[in-house]
């Protein structure tokens, strides 16, 4: 072989070695990420459930009223002491209610969410909160419905953490009050404000108008 041949040979080997360095063990590492598949565990899932009965540090659920909505087996009538009724609590409740409940129960809690409006009624329609029975229910009931589900409604507990459930329960109470109120007891300047369309009061311009026109083809 000539000198150039040797050089060429060297170049090819060098290229081959550096190419061999290109493997992807950094791209897919032996660690497991959330929701990944795993061939290590029998059920093929990387996500593990805690052993039954596990209590995380600081996670002991001693406060019965706060975590179950019941005290000594009876539904609580007031917010548990840990939850402070405030403007912020209601604002949080409104936000979370609109995320997790409105598509079934509607923005006003009247059971006319988008699913019902589109004519796709659930086998049992979502409840309206504005019935005498529900107005008289202690607040713990709403917490319990969210935590455990009710009839055909599934539990929301995996999505809505405990503190948010109380915020939503408080907001539902506010919704109920707003729909069961004697307007004649208001001062005249307050009555004026009542003439604002309901959707604007909800901070949702156009919601109801659009809702009625829902059957119309979308603007796309």
């Amino acid at each position: 072989m000539t000198k150039t041949d040797w050089t060429r040979c060297f170049a090819i080997v060098a290229a081959a070695i550096s190419l061999a360095g290109c493997h992807n063990d950094m791209w897919t590492q032996p660690k497991l990420r959330a929701q990944q598949e795993s061939d290590f565990f029998a059920d093929g899932q990387a996500d593990r459930m805690p052993v039954p009965g596990t209590i995380a540090r600081g996670g002991l659920k001693e406060d019965e009223a706060y975590f179950t909505g019941r005290r000594n087996g009876k539904l609580v009538a007031d917010l548990p002491s840990r939850v402070v009724l405030s403007k912020e609590l209601l604002a949080r409740g409104k936000e979370r209610f609109e995320v997790f409940c409105t598509h079934c129960h509607g923005y006003a809690g009247d059971g006319k969410g988008m699913i019902a409006q589109r004519g796709l009624s659930l086998r049992r329609p979502p409840a309206s909160y504005h019935t005498q029975r529900l107005r008289e229910m202690p607040i713990g009931h709403f917490f319990e419905v969210m935590s455990r589900g009710f009839g055909v409604m599934f539990s929301q507990a995996t999505r809505v953490p405990v503190e948010d459930r109380w915020a939503i329960a408080a907001y539902i109470r506010a919704l109920q009050l707003s729909h069961d109120f004697d307007a004649s007891s208001l001062a005249p300047d307050e009555t004026q404000k009542l003439n604002v369309p309901a959707d604007e009061q909800l901070g949702l311009p156009g919601a109801h108008k659009k809702g009625e026109a829902e059957g119309a083809p979308s603007k796309e």
């Binding site: 950094m26 791209w27 409105t102 598509h103 988008m114 995996t158 949702l204 659009k210 979308s218």
Partner: protein, 248 residues
Amino acid sequence: MPQLFSRKVNTYSRVTLFCALALPAGLIFAGSAITRSAANTNVNVPLDQPVPFSHKHHTEELGIDCRFCHPSVETSAKAGVPSTETCMACHSQIWTNAPALKPVRESYEKGTPIRWQRVNKVPEFVYFDHSIHIARGLNCNTCHGPVQKMHITWKGNYFFMRWCLECHNEPEKYLYADPAHPDMEPRQKAFELYKKNKYGQDLTPVEWRNLEGQPLKFDAKQVEAGKKLVEKYGVKTKQLTDCWTCHR
């Protein structure tokens, strides 16, 4: 004495010279074009999913909030794919016999998860966190493309390092306040866009482009406003492009 080289050789040598320069450039160009093409990155390619789940049906038409199905997106690194139980909350009652939903029902009965194909992924040496981006008011479509329009989910952007850095270098070109609710929490603003779209409210050109997953194209004034937001939110611009931010 006759000429050593004929006239033709001039052309040959020019062509050779040109090729010597153009070929590597062309190769690099072709190489990067291939790397960025859909064949390599899967951008804009709907994947073959076990259930033909449609974001268009569920988010735009039914108006379900992203957080109903991706509840951890605001508070943790992962947005996560929803549990079967989330689907069954409705599908135990609606479309209970639809063949398309058979895998969902089976999964619910047997307790085995549905195996969705992963659409968006960064390599495992990259650390990404959803919560901080949502907390700064970035709408999902900035990164994921027009999700509310997708019948079958596709990837809106290639997540190359370059792409992340474009924004981390100049976050002021991506942050804007909602003109209708200037004081809204940025976290909430990120989702307000879908609601405004659903209820047919007026959107500014920037909001439209954001919703469509297109580049925002800020003018000088908007960049100025963006800078103010960067300050207001306390974005740590100094460390945003440090290697350890994303490689740790």
